[in-house]
Amino acid sequence: MPSLLIIEQILNGLQFGVMLFLMAAGLTLIFGVMGLINLAHGSLYMVGAFAAAAVAGATGSFFLGLVAALVAAAFAGAIVEIVVIRRLYKAAHLDQVLATFALILIFSEGTRWVFGSFPLFLDIPDAISGPVTLPGGIEYPLYRLVLIGIGLAVAVGLWALIERTRIGIQIRAGENDREMIAALGIDISKLYTLVFALGAALAGLAGALVGAIQSVQVGMGEPVLILAFVVIVIGGIGSIRGAFVGALLVGLTDTLGGVFLPELFKLFMEAGAAQRSGSAIASMGIYILMGLVLVWRPTGLFGARA
């Protein structure tokens, strides 16, 4: 296989990874600070994509669509936090799983109620569509490069937010010791709403960005949600750094596994069968990766040691 193709596939894996990071960062932040398992995070991704598609469709501006995605997802997140999630912080994981599972049902069918059963249209703005030629002669879609850029920028921004700002200090305090922040005179419920809305906004942003090159439809959030969970479990729940490393690992494993496993199988199998078995194993690849990581380190790569 030519090396240019390999480099291109690595870029693809990277791009997939940074988008997963946007999802996983919010999920891991919410778990780290509030101790909440939020299955409804995928719904916020969907809310972002639908908001972007609706606004971009009405105004013709992709940028306004992105803003709408951020606002709508953050707003939906804040509402959900205030009405439902807030009552679950002290509840068992089991109750959290059930309640947020219920939220998925409500969000999904509610969205279908409002927007109908057909996928919506959301396209890349002309300015950043089409391929560019990279050094070495690789033709690569500009939009995907932009996605990688945005993902990395968000990662840096999050790092700065958490390490360099007052809110960041509060978030870190909340991760370490919940009683402590109360003692510091911080309004916990406001902080929690803020963190939840921030996580939701990141998910909404991911939904809108990815929605432009995928299908904006009801149920689009659940597959991504499962992947994001795999990411944060591999990285260690509560760790932003872990989420970043985990996201890239999952992105690369999934992309490269899908490409290279069938090739590998072709060495000792007939082509069609190799394709099928190779892609079958590849579809299980990230789960196998997660299993291996957890057997090796039961709290993930960067998780707090028990």
């Binding site: 030519p2 240019l4 193709l5 291109e8 596939q9 693809n12 791009q15 997939f16 999904s108 069918e109 279908r112 109908g116 059963s117 057909f118 996928p119 919506l120 249209f121 396209d123 890349i124 569509s129 089409g130 391929p131 033709e139 879609p141 939009y143 995907r144 990815v210 432009a212 090159i213 995928q214 299908s215 904006v216 439809q217 009801v218 149920g219 689009m220 597959p223 992309t255 899908g258 490409v259 069938p262 082509a271 069609g272 394709q275 099928r276 892609s279 079958a280 590849a282 579809s283």
Partner: protein
Amino acid sequence: MNRRVLGAAAVAALCATTAMADIKVGMITTLSGGGAGLGIDVRDGFMLAIAQSGREDIEVVIEDDQRKPDIAVQLSDKLIQSERVDIMTGIIWSNLAMAVVPAAVNQDVFYLSPNAGPSPLAGAGCHPNYFNVAWQNDNLHEAAGAHATAAGYDRSFILAPNYPAGTDALTGYKRFFDGDLAGEVYTQLGQTDYAAEIAQIRASDADSVFFFLPGGMGISFLKQYADSGIDLPVVGPAFSFDQGILQAVEEAALGVVNTSQWSKDIDNPTNAAFVESFQAEYGRLPSLYASQGFDTANLLLSALERAAPSDADAFREALRAADFDSTRGEFSFGPNHHPVQTIYAREVIKEGDVFTNRIIGTALENHSDAYAADCKM
């Protein structure tokens, strides 16, 4: 899951009509969750035809399978055991059809398929009470292969999800494609990112691309393909270029050739009337699925004119005759009760603000399917 829709009955006459209904049709289709759009179209097309017939003695019991095989099986039990329907129809997905149809037809119910046509039901598993009014699953892919050959392509890159319908699709394409393969890729079911596959296409020496990626998968692929800058011609079955889906893809699909047994510009009076009345009734353009639902209902109505389902043999003969005006023109059944029909090549165009299809040629004339020989009936 107990929605009753009464064919052509005034709401005021609800009770009376129920009592009067002589013929009971059970429709199991997907109305909620992912893929609901297809089921809704089939239902609407079907009910339009029933309404236009003016018959008040037909009761249609409509149930939502949520695209879950186990739910579909239960609904089928319910329709047969409790509602005691004579005829069943409506299933969209092959895996649900495989779960429901064999058991249903063995309980002496007639089943008319408005969409799915899995190969076992066309071949060794065919049944006198099973009629497919859409296509055998391979048909549109075979037509795509035939079109690619006719268009002079030598090297196709082909891809489909790694599940039975996907394997069947690639097999069907290869059956009618005379050139070589530049690549054959099975993607993950439900995959949304095709960057890796697109990179492989770019790196290959293909001169054309064939894909079968139903639903959201196809939307994602088309958008990403259009953005990749690769300008190889694309061929696919109609599923990814249908009315509902095109509006989510827009320019990315322009110019793509797809194969279909129906198109809204097929020139015959039935089709013209169907397109017009569907738009008038529901305020949207009809889709492939709507046309299949419409044809299914009309086939049923034509058979009911000749015989009652209680006289199974006569009713079966009446269905087999397929004496109705189909939206796709010439239509008849082969020996395995699957359609013998013409499959067209269509091109995606923009008509005003609306993206739609236009017929550019015939891919396969009076085409049957590859499994009929295995059917002993």
